[in-house]
Amino acid sequence: MAAIEIRDLTKRFGDVTAVDGLDLTVESGEVFGFLGPNGAGKSTTINVLLDFVAPTTGSASMLGLDVADDRTELHRRIGVVPENYGLYDRLSGRRHVELAVDLKDASDDPDALLDRVGLSPADRDRPAGEYSTGMSQRLALAVALVGSPELLILDEPTGGLDPNGARELRELIVAENDRGATVFFSSHILEQVEAVADRVGILQDGRLAAVDSIEHLRQNLDGGARVSLRVDREPERVPSDLPNVRDVDVGDGVVEGTCLEPDAKLAFIDRVREAATVTDVRIEESSLEDMFASYTAEDVDAERAEPAASAEGQP
C-alpha cells in the first residue's frame, strides 16, 4: 500500500493555480524528498495532505485513508513538522510533547523523545517562547515523533538548524526509516535531500518535473563537466567540432568546454594542446544545483552560461 497517493490534484487560489493536476505516489518505507523552488506548489500540496486547505479538484490519501474524511485516525498515525509552525509561548517544551502524547493516545515518555532530538533537560522546562529557532525546531521534531508514526511529513525541516543540527536530523530520518516509517520531506536544500532520500520529486509550477532516484536523475541529465584550460596563447580556431563537447568559449587566456562524457574531456584537452600549450587544467563536475536548475529553469542553456561567464574572469 502506498504511503501517499495524490491523484490529479489541482488547487487554485482565485486566478492563481498553485498545484496543477499533480499525480504522485510515495511508496511505503521509502524516504522521499520533495524538491522545488519557492512558489512551486510544495507547501500547497502538503497543506492539502494535512487537510489545511481543500483541493479544488482531485484527491489525496495517506496510509490508504482519505486526507479529509479520515483525518482523525490518519493524524493519529502520522507525525508532522508543518511549515511556519508556531509553539505555545507560555507552555514548556515538555508540556508540548505531553499535549501531543495526550492527543494521540500514545504512551511515549516525553523525556525520551526530547533526549532523541537533543533538547537539554534544562531547556525542556523553560517556556517555548524563550526558545531559539534551532531549539523550537528540535521541539517540533519531538512532537512529530510522538506515537511512533508510520509516516513522517517534514516541511522544510532543516530551516533554522545549524550544520550540526542538520546532521542530527539526517540521522534521525535514517533511524525512523530503519524503524519502518515512511519519510516525506520537502526542501530547497539539495544536499540535505541527496544525503538521505531514496527518491526525489521535483515540483515546478505546480507540476511534477521529475520523479526518480538521485542517481537516475543525474544520469538522465547531460550536465557533464566544465573543463577550463589555461593556455599560453589563445588558439585561432575554436575546437568546437568534437562530439560530446559543447558550449566552447575562448577568452582571457582560457579555453573552456562542457564535456558530456569522460572520454570527451581527454579528447578536448588533446585538441587544445594541438593549438597551444596548456599550463593549467580545472574541471568542475555538474553539481546537483545545476541539475536542479536544469529541471526548474525555463531556459537551461541560459543557466549554464552563467558559471562559464564567471569562470572567464578568474585569473
Binding site: 508532522v80 508543518p82 508556531g86 507552555l91 499535549l99 493516545d105
Partner: protein, 267 residues
Amino acid sequence: MSVRTVARKDLADAGRSKSLWAVTLLVLFVTAGITALVGTTSDESTVQVFQLAFQLAVLTLPIVALVLAKGAITGERESGSLRVLLSLPPSRYDVLLGKFLGRTALMLVATLVGGVATAMVVVTTLGGGVELLVPFVGSLGLMTVAFVAVGVGISAASATDGRANAFAVGAYMLLVALWNLVQAGIRAGATELGLVEAGSQPAWLEFLGVFPPNRAAVAAYESAVAGGRVFAADPFASVWFPVAILFAWIVVPVAFGYLRFRDADIA
C-alpha cells in the same frame, strides 16, 4: 477526549497570560470598588446598590469577555501553533469547541470571583440581600459566556487578529454601547414606514430591547429579583425568555464561527 485536552491546554496557556489577569483585576476593582463606595456613602437600599453593581458589570464584563475570546483562534492562526494542533488528531470542531470551553471556564472563574466579591461587599456594608446573590452571579455568568461565544465565533470566522479585533470592537459598540441608538433608529424607521403606530410597543420592538446579551441579562436579573417568575404569562416579565436569548447567544455565534472556520484555508 480531544476537546477536553485542547480545553485544558488552552486554560493552562491563556491562564498564564498576565495581561488577561490585569484586565480582570481592574474590572473587579472598578465594579466592586464603586459598589462599595456607593454602598457606604449613600443611603440607597441593598436592592438598589445591587442594581447599580449589575449595571456596571453589564457594561464592563462584555469587554473582558471579548478581549479574552477574540484571539482564541486567530492568535493560534497567526503564531502558527494552530498548524501544529491541526496536524495532530484534533479536528477543527474539536479545536473550536475546546477553545470555547477553555475560555468559558476562565471567564466563569473571573465572573464568579468578581460577582461574589461585589455581592459580598454589598451584603457586608448594607446587610441582607444574600438571596440576590444567585440571580446576580447567574445572570452575569450566562452573559459573560454569551460574550465569550461571540468573541470565539468572531475569532473563528476571522483570518487575522486585526480583523478579529475590529469585529470584537464592533460587536461591543453595537450590542452594548450603541444599542439604544440602534433601537431608536429601528423604531423611527419602522414608524416612518408605517409598520408601527407612534407610541405603541409591539412585541418585536420589545424583543429588540432585550436582544443583546447584556440586555437579556438585565431582563433576567430584574425578572428574578422582581418576583422570581420563571414562567410568567408575559415572556418579557419572566426569567425563561431572556435566559433562552442568552443560550441562543451562546450557540449561534460559535456555530456560525465553526462554519466559517471549517471551510477556511489554514495557509
